[in-house]
Amino acid sequence: MQAIQFEDFSYHYPKTGTGLDRVSLAIPYGSFTVLTGANGGGKTTLCLAMTGLVPHFFGGSLSGQVLVDGQSTAGRSVAETAGGVGIVMEDYESQLVSLTVFEEIAFALENQALPAALIKERVSEALAAVGLDGLAQRELSALSGGQKQRLAVASVIASQPKILVLDEPASALDPEGAEELYALLAKLNREQGITVIVADHDLARAMPYADTVVVMEQGRVALQGTPTDVFAKMLSGQIYAAAVPALRRLKGRLEREHQALSDWLTADAAASEINALLSPQRRLSLSA
């Protein structure tokens, strides 16, 4: 069984008629997937379809199905599906509905009618997991943008979902904030086994953490696989090639005329291999 499985799923929004076109996609439990592609290609719709909000909230026509944690989203309410999958939406500030941090995290749990003592416990666990310990009584209006985002994550993981979906979570953060967010997601992925799916344009910052990359194009899955494979195919097939991280673009350019190079993860690795390529010793060994 997969964490998320799209089976020949097509969907059209009622107003615009755009959406998803025959998407087949399997995301295994425990994976860390980055979802990318040009704007308008269907990233957000794909995220919403994983939560059942597409089609339940928007209406529209569909064929095929989406299985989340083994269950079809069509036959369950959004709240039921949300028990297994949590989402942090692009406009995460509007997703927060309470006055204080505690209430915000407790909100979904209270709606599930969990006992008060258990709610308290879950709230403090969630706060600790995202590094907001001690801020339970803080008012939302006193939080920074980055803290609000962590709160959105905390309020989702408090329901203990197996899958976490984030739609462009790092767009308002500075590089350090984005780095911290990815480190947090990697920790949740590693330590709690949560399946993580992140939509992002910046693949360089996701590269150290992701084991799978999915490229969407015009409502279809254009590419899917390991980062190395997908980056190579993006370059060779000119599919959203501008988004390939700089190191891989450099590698792709050099491999056009020279031998295969290794899959650099850091600038250091790239520099040492290029140094070897350019070194006089190597020149001697070649001419010998």
């Binding site: 450099l250 050099l254 140094n275 070649l286």
Partner: protein, 281 residues
């Protein structure tokens, strides 16, 4: 054209946001303004356009103190493009939207028409002049915001994270547009977290750290190997291109993009082959 002299600023009840920052912007500059969230970048640009007034120090425009000038007056000289275009777009067509500023200035009909046409032309929006701006994609709405600022014929354009929410291709097109505007003599101050863009497009970099100006110089120098550790302290990320170039044993000079770096490396390798075959280098 713009001279910021020892400017300090603090929001009431908070630690100072800017401490004695001085900065001279020449006509036609292309400056990348970088720093952590909260380092004072936005405060500095707000002071430039009169949205905030310095607690001490002064902002001079063409030698004149701007303390009495509000943002609407400053807009004639300095255009400010906010991060989110949806906070300003409110009219039915792109052309009407762009005409808003000239109307507020009570320019004559012909002046107005000329200004709108020029702004649409500079931003490549002529084909959507009659379109409903809210129905356009985010990257086009961003262009509408830029055109709205350009309609007042400013000599300097400040853009706050203009690439946020844009995909890789839209980003490249937007930066292309900024390069073109700059070639036409319009100064650009680009506030960004994206160091790859900063390196590729801005000739001069200014870095703020805890309200102080800690770097002001050619962008390549910002990421030179010696400065790299400091750059990290300031919360910036050294672009991979600069990091690789800085670690090569054979110095290839400053590079600004993947393409430039690849060209230089290939040039070296080709040189090797020529040496091997005995041809003159």
């Amino acid at each position: 054209m713009l001279d910021i002299q020892q400017v300090s600023f603090a929001y009431p009840g908070h630690a100072p946001a800017l401490k004695e920052v001085s900065l001279t912007v020449a006509a036609g500059d292309f400056i990348g303004l970088a720093g952590r969230n909260g380092s004072g970048k936005t405060t500095l640009t707000r002071l430039m356009v009169g949205l905030a007034k310095p607690v001490s120090g002064q902002v001079l425009l063409d030698g004149q103190n701007t303390i009495q000038c509000g943002p609407a007056t400053m807009a004639r000289a300095i255009g400010y493009v906010f991060q989110n275009p949806d906070r300003q777009i409110f009219r039915d067509t792109v052309a009407q939207e762009v005409a808003f500023g000239p109307e507020q200035m009570e320019w004559s009909d012909s002046e107005r028409a000329e200004a709108v046409a020029a702004a649409l032309n500079m931003t490549g929006l002529e084909s959507v002049a009659a379109a409903y701006p809210r129905g356009l994609t985010r990257s086009f709405r961003q262009r509408v915001a830029i055109a709205s600022a350009l309609a007042l014929k400013p000599r300097l354009l400040i853009l706050d994270e203009p690439t946020s929410g844009q995909d890789a291709e839209e980003k490249a097109q937007l930066m292309n547009l900024l390069d073109q505007l700059n070639q036409q003599g319009i100064g650009v101050i680009l506030v960004t977290h994206d160091m790859e863009l900063l390196l590729a497009h801005s000739r001069r970099a200014v870095v703020l750290h805890q309200g102080e100006k800690v770097f002001d110089g050619p962008t390549e120098e910002l990421f030179a190997a010696a400065a790299a550790t400091q750059v990290t302290e300031w919360g910036l990320r050294v672009p991979d291109v600069a990091a690789v170039a800085g670690k090569l044993e054979k110095p290839l000079g400053a590079v600004r993009s993947v393409e430039e770096l690849a060209d230089r490396i290939e040039g070296q390798l080709r040189g090797d082959e020529r040496e091997k075959s005995g041809a003159p280098v």
